[in-house]
Symmetry: C2
Subunit: 229 residues, 2 copies
Amino acid sequence: MRTHQLVLHWIEGQLSEGKLAVGGRLPAERTLAEQLQVSRTSVREAIRILEAMGVVRAGVGSGPEAGTVVISDPTAALGSALRLHVATQHLPVSDIVQTRVLLESWAASHARPDSPELTGAARLLAEMDADGIAVDDFLALDVRFHLALADAAGNAVVSAMMGSLRESITGYASRLTANLPDWDATAVRLRSEHHEILDAIRNDDGERAARLVASHIEGYYREAGVRHP
Amino acid sequence: MRTHQLVLHWIEGQLSEGKLAVGGRLPAERTLAEQLQVSRTSVREAIRILEAMGVVRAGVGSGPEAGTVVISDPTAALGSALRLHVATQHLPVSDIVQTRVLLESWAASHARPDSPELTGAARLLAEMDADGIAVDDFLALDVRFHLALADAAGNAVVSAMMGSLRESITGYASRLTANLPDWDATAVRLRSEHHEILDAIRNDDGERAARLVASHIEGYYREAGVRHP
DNA sequence: CCGCGCCTGTGGTCTAACCACACTCTAGGG
DNA sequence: CCCTAGAGTGTGGTTAGACCACAGGCGCGG
């Protein structure tokens, strides 16, 4: 076993045993290196991996923002991993879109009508209704709206996966707008579809919401010229 | 931006531009460090992250197995990320199981009856029917059977996510068997359910297959005493 | 012609030093 | 007495240079 993996396992063990929890701090790199009888280099490699996985955050200086503290940001890890694999062209974008439809339909049909996330979603829709909103701003709000819907279903894994799927194709989706024949017309349609989806969820009609979400997403990509299997 | 991120972006750029593809080799660490005008340490930190993400594999010595070569193993990345976050107890196991049901039902209903993966799945079932098979061997085959079903749907993202979900709770699932009142009886039931699922897929009855898969998984966890939302 | 070592280049690890940063303490002046 | 400017301390960030184990390739000797 390589040295940094030893450090990794030690930290994972501390997490599993509850000796290290979200918000807690790892020992300083030099201290940890001495404790585990390895070099600081190896400790740092392990911490880098944990950082990339969204498990810790490293901060310089001193004070509350400093040191290596345990966080929990699964979305970051999954997102960058997916993005990299999309770059290797071993994860087709069409598969990502298809998975997104699957997850998001499920979330829509399981979203709780009275969840606070839906209130946030409604606020986002109001912002998107503003006149003369820029395309990029609209898309940013759109992402947040869809994530809010996913969160409303109350499944952390589905939320994280949804977020990571979106993150991994953000650049791609934004380039897609160039393919649209008439952005303004599309924006009008997207707005009304958003409202329909939200209404369906609030009326506790999960099945309809799921159908609407699926056709909403697939319709967008079809209009932008993406093939679906 | 930190130094290792610069290296990371450079490599990701090479991947996106197609100058680096699966099977290709990265320049040697010392060479890359000189090219990018950074220290070898920083290069190594970037490579460690890519390795953890399942994007490269590092091998010592010389020959075909040596050097840092580009691979594509999204499952590894997602799996270890999920496992770590489960360790932080910010991803409830019940959410993972629920997501697994969602993905696997979808896969069962979209699996192509004539796909080669199903032949492999059938072979796995035959192995599981062997008399006196050890519990751990049975479970290992079970994992492979379910993954084969997921692969049969032909969506790389769903396959990777399924694999990572299974990996992240392997240890957990194996501990669960201790909760079962009568393993032998359970094993008999699981075997017959597996055959039913496979038959449904082969008869092109995706809807039935999805239902069977869902109750198969949920039934197992219920019997082992796991609560579902 | 074959086989045994040396050579080379790879990643793996370690040490030791320096930097930038941000808080904390302290000594000095008002 | 209070406030402020400075030194002090501990954090991660980065670098240079050295050594190790490994595995294939090459050349020399049998």
